[in-house]
């Protein structure tokens, strides 16, 4: 693996890891703007560099993560649930990432960025949605975390920037999962690794796929209130036969991590505009098609990891 990045991320006057998303030119900070040598400028709002002018098709995530900005954080839950999920879905450990530059592609409120930060990684946390407000509020004070708002399809980094890229439960919410995934490996340094997890083509995910074209059109606040009543009812009366029958057609969350988590997860399951489902074989083939090596499935279904080879 390449030498760890030694320059702390939190040099706000330089944002040295960022580059013009189109030309790759380095960016220089001038006041509340990042200026590219091409003349393009990008605003820095509340110390978050912005490379998009809106949250485009992910408004439900903007709402969701600002409403539940701490629900899934280990520090808030006082457990290790996000750490365990991160380890299972990426196979990465503290020793792997300590001192390394890691891209968290699709940060949300930052449950996995928190794990990486705690493990001593230098984390660049990106999201297209206004979830970056929640992530910045949670982690903006940390020296090893940089949050920015950008599109995974057009990220503001030069090729060969990162030691690791993780994207857990994110790419299936883009318009074309494979196409957006294909834009990530070039950002890895030679020998850098990428780990992703996508919705599998099975079980509840299949059922939800039928609902999504209809549920994503419901206004976020209206649907969130629906989820809040439904899940609280289910928690109060878990023995009801009606709930068991309903779950067979409209599966909703029951992860054993509390009501708030289940409200969040149920909303999360039905509100996004895009909801791709994929088989592990399909995802593994994407890695191979892009020339990644050491491609391996992880114990969690559709969690796949691979390495960018050393070129030449």
């Amino acid at each position: 693996m390449s030498t760890p990045t030694l320059v702390p991320l939190h040099e706000k006057d330089s944002f040295h890891v960022l580059a013009d998303p189109d030309g790759g030119q380095p960016l220089k900070r001038e006041g509340d703007l990042l200026v590219s040598s091409s003349g393009r400028t990008f605003p820095v709002v509340r110390e978050v560099p912005r490379f998009v002018s809106s949250d485009l098709y992910v408004d439900s995530f903007s709402f969701e993560w600002n409403t539940h900005s701490t629900t899934q954080l280990d520090s808030h839950r006082e457990d290790q649930s996000s750490t365990e999920i991160f380890t299972a879905k990426t196979g990465l450990t503290e020793d792997d990432v300590r001192g390394k530059l890691v891209l968290d592609a699709g940060v949300g409120a930052g449950r996995f960025t928190e794990v990486l930060s705690r493990w001593g990684a230098q984390v660049v946390a990106v999201d297209l949605s206004y979830a970056v407000e929640a992530a910045q509020k949670n982690f903006g004070h940390l020296k090893n975390v940089l949050v920015c708002q950008a599109d995974i399809g057009n990220l503001p980094f030069a090729n060969g920037t990162f030691d690791f890229i993780v994207s857990i439960g994110v790419l299936h919410h883009t318009p074309d999962t494979r196409k957006y995934f294909a834009r990530l490996p070039r950002l890895l340094k030679p020998n850098g690794e990428i780990a992703i997890w996508l919705y599998p083509k099975e079980g509840d995910y299949l059922l939800r796929n039928a609902w999504i074209p209809f549920t994503h059109k419901i206004p976020d606040r209206l649907f969130y209130r629906f989820c809040r009543v439904l899940v609280r009812w289910a928690h109060r009366s878990p023995d009801r036969l009606a709930l068991a029958l309903l779950r067979r057609m409209f599966p909703f969350s029951n992860q054993g991590l509390g009501v708030e988590n289940d409200v969040l997860d149920t909303f999360d399951g039905y509100s996004p505009r895009f909801h791709g489902i994929h088989s592990p074989e399909e995802v593994t083939q994407w890695f191979l098609d892009l020339g990644l090596v050491d491609v391996r499935g992880l114990p969690w279904n559709t969690a796949v990891r691979g390495r960018r080879p050393v070129e030449g």
Binding site: P43, V45, R50, S53, S54, D55, D59, S62, F63, N66, T67, H68, S69, S81, E84, I85, T87, A88, Y130, E133, L207, A210, W211, F214, T215, I218, R221, L222, F223, Y224, R225, F226, R228, V229, L230, P238, D239, R240, L241, L243, A244, L245, R247, R248, M249, F250, N254, Q255, G256, L257, P299, W300, N301
Partner: protein, 160 residues
């Protein structure tokens, strides 16, 4: 940009919000009922639901009037993910999907647990954790060895 992001802040609580919650629930339920009818009639939704399963679920709902399941040996045990193995169970038992399972799991006569575990916990930690979900038991062994090759016997029973 700031205006947009501030507009997406969290919902307030309180009694007015509760009323709005229930009005929203009624409105969305009505809409989703129509969507459900469309999905079922068009064949786009295949939830594996049938009159047979409804009947069996109804039987499960009447579990208090039914004698609990006595000890029964698990035969076919298939590796799922991580430390988790899965085995099919008799129909009509109340699982944690429907309510509160009363299933116990034994390894060579010794009870395993904890029951009602998250599948993630079973997969990642194992150590005897198990979950009764639907018509299957998702379980791990005390030392995370493969139950089909370890030579040990695995039994289930419902508590009285």
């Amino acid at each position: 940009m700031e205006k947009d992001s501030l507009a997406k802040s969290s919902l307030p609580g309180g009694p007015v919000s509760r009323v709005l919650d229930f009005l929203s629930f009624a409105a969305v339920s009505a809409y989703l009922s129509l969507v459900l009818a469309f999905l079922l009639l068009s064949g786009r939704l295949k939830p594996g639901f049938s009159l047979k399963s409804a009947f069996l679920s109804a039987l499960a709902g009447a579990r208090r009037r039914r004698r609990p399941l006595g000890r029964r040996r698990l035969t076919r045990m298939v590796a799922e993910q991580g430390h988790c193995f899965v085995s099919a169970l008799p129909w009509g038992l109340v699982s944690d999907e429907q309510g509160r399972s009363r299933l116990k799991l034994y390894e060579d006569g010794q009870p395993l647990g904890p029951a009602h575990s998250l599948h993630e916990t079973v997969r990642l930690q194992g150590g005897g954790a198990f979950s009764h979900w639907g018509n299957s038991i998702y379980f791990s062994t005390s030392d995370n060895r493969d139950p089909s090759t370890s030579g040990r016997g695995y039994e289930i029973a419902e508590e009285e």
